[in-house]
């Protein structure tokens, strides 16, 4: 309850600052959507030259992309710590965070909420609906619940991996360049893993499990017989990686010594 009220307070704060710079808000939303539009356009164009990619139809690949946008948008709204090392460690703002009653990771996340990327998630739902209407598939009554569970799992994977990487700032204050690297790797998860070679498939499934933020969970709705086990692993992998991320963060907090005055 305490955390929920904190969240609503920070959200109100965010709204106030954003209303001062209204145009910035829409610029962020639109340039976000433009990038997704480019990727969707890419999918449309490549299907003008082929009927199937690795056995998947155009609607199916668009559906996968739409799914991919949902956890990504949700994650982006609640985790916006791209300059964490610079702002909190180098400038010493972490000292202030540690005196707050909420858990340090939650406190830092709340200070940086960015609901504008939720528009991406909404657009993703729209893309999924569009692709679904072009497919001849049935939904069971429990499928929306499964969908929520899968999205939760995918968000947890993002959260775990990026929390783990952010925690590196506690151990080394030089920029590592790993975050932009991860950003580009996660894009691999939005296509059927069958198009990649064996090594990349294994990496995307077990090492940096970005196949679970797009392809595997989406495949639950597309080809249930083949991918049931893999898609239902999503929440499990999510829980595992979130646990790793939080453990690394807590380890980092213990090591934190502050940066001068």
């Amino acid at each position: 309850m305490f955390h929920a009220s904190l969240f609503s307070e920070y959200l109100k704060n965010y709204m106030k600052t954003r209303l001062t710079y209204r145009s910035d808000f829409w610029i962020e939303v639109i340039s976000d959507l433009a990038y997704n539009f480019m990727n969707l356009f890419f999918i449309l164009v490549i299907y003008m030259h082929t009927d199937l990619i690795d056995g998947w139809t155009r609607e199916e690949v668009i559906f996968i992309y739409g799914y991919f946008m949902v956890p990504y948008g949700i994650f982006g709204a609640f985790f916006n710590l791209w300059n964490f090392g610079e702002r909190y460690i180098v400038k010493g703002e972490m000292d202030r965070v540690l005196t707050r009653p909420a858990h340090s990771l939650l406190q830092v996340a709340l200070e940086n909420v960015d609901p504008s990327s939720l528009f991406g998630a909404l657009a993703g739902l729209g893309v999924m609906a569009y692709a679904w209407s072009g497919m001849d598939a049935q939904l069971a009554w429990y499928d929306p619940l499964v969908f929520a569970l899968l999205v939760l799992g995918s968000v947890a994977i993002y959260f775990g991996i990026f929390t783990a990487i952010t925690s590196i700032s506690f151990f080394s204050d030089s920029p590592t360049g790993i975050i932009p690297l991860m950003f580009n790797i996660q894009g691999y998860g939005r296509y059927p893993v069958g198009i990649y070679n064996r090594i990349i498939r294994i990496v995307l499934t077990w090492v940096l499990p970005f196949a679970f933020v797009g392809f595997y969970p989406a495949a639950y709705f597309l080809d249930r017989e083949t991918y049931l086990a893999m898609s239902l692993l999503t929440p499990v992998v999510g829980a595992a990686f979130a646990a790793i991320g939080i453990a690394l963060w807590n380890l980092g907090i213990k090591r934190y010594r502050g940066a001068g005055s």
């Binding site: 145009s23 910035d24 829409w26 610029i27 962020e28 639109i30 340039s31 433009a34 990038y35 480019m38 356009f41 890419f42 164009v45 490549i46 003008m48 030259h49 082929t50 199937l52 990619i53 690795d54 920029p175 590592t176 360049g177 790993i178 932009p180 690297l181 580009n184 790797i185 894009g187 691999y188 296509y191 069958g194 198009i195 990649y196 070679n197 990349i200």
Partner: protein, 264 residues
Amino acid sequence: MIGAYLDFVRLRFLTMLAYRVNYYSGIVIYAINIGAYYFIWNAVYGGSETLGGMTAAQMSSYVAVSWMARAFYFNNLDREIANEIRDGSVAIQMIRPYQYLAVKMMQGFGEGCFRLLMFSVPGMIVAALLFPVDFPDDPARWLWFAVMLLLSFFINSEINLLTGLFAFFVENNEGMIRMKRVAVDLFSGLVIPLSFFPGWAETALKLLPFQAITYLPGSVFTGTLQGGAIAQAAAVQLFWMVALLAPLALVWRSARRRLFVQGG
């Protein structure tokens, strides 16, 4: 006078050199991007020999060379100019005895030289080790490609200068800068070669300057363009390089009149 401008190239090159570590991860990132498009195009080709006038082998070379060319011509001149306009330091630069835009272009070129040596060339070697890339065996083709690469740098930088100068007219052109980046990536043929676009879009894009940034040099490198078509493509680039000077001069002239620096 020329010497002064060349010094700007040298200075930016040396500044970049001091931060070269940041660019090692850039090579990996570009290799990851090349990989993403390589695998998807591979799946698109499946069994087919040629699509959009390109073979599968040409496509993988095209993807690799286009991204590594981007590593060379890409720069943040638009954001640099916008920042200098916003913080007012552009006023100091305007009273100095040089052409502001020419200086920016030279600084961009210094950055480009650095990127070519530390990013594009080693990146291309990495890409060739990871993915099937066919290099041209005709030295004349290499020469044409080098010239066209240089032209694509100038065209892209001119577009960047134009985007940056819009900060004179609007309070915040950050959105414009981002949109421009997406537009250049999409319309230049980096993400999709022009011959793959639907007919109407291809026709429209051939009337725009963007194709001169990636598609034309890439097509020369992969050999989709042969003989006289190569010179023709270079002529199109030359045309755009010159043609873009006109809007630049126009925007610059009216921008100077608008400039109003607060404080400082």
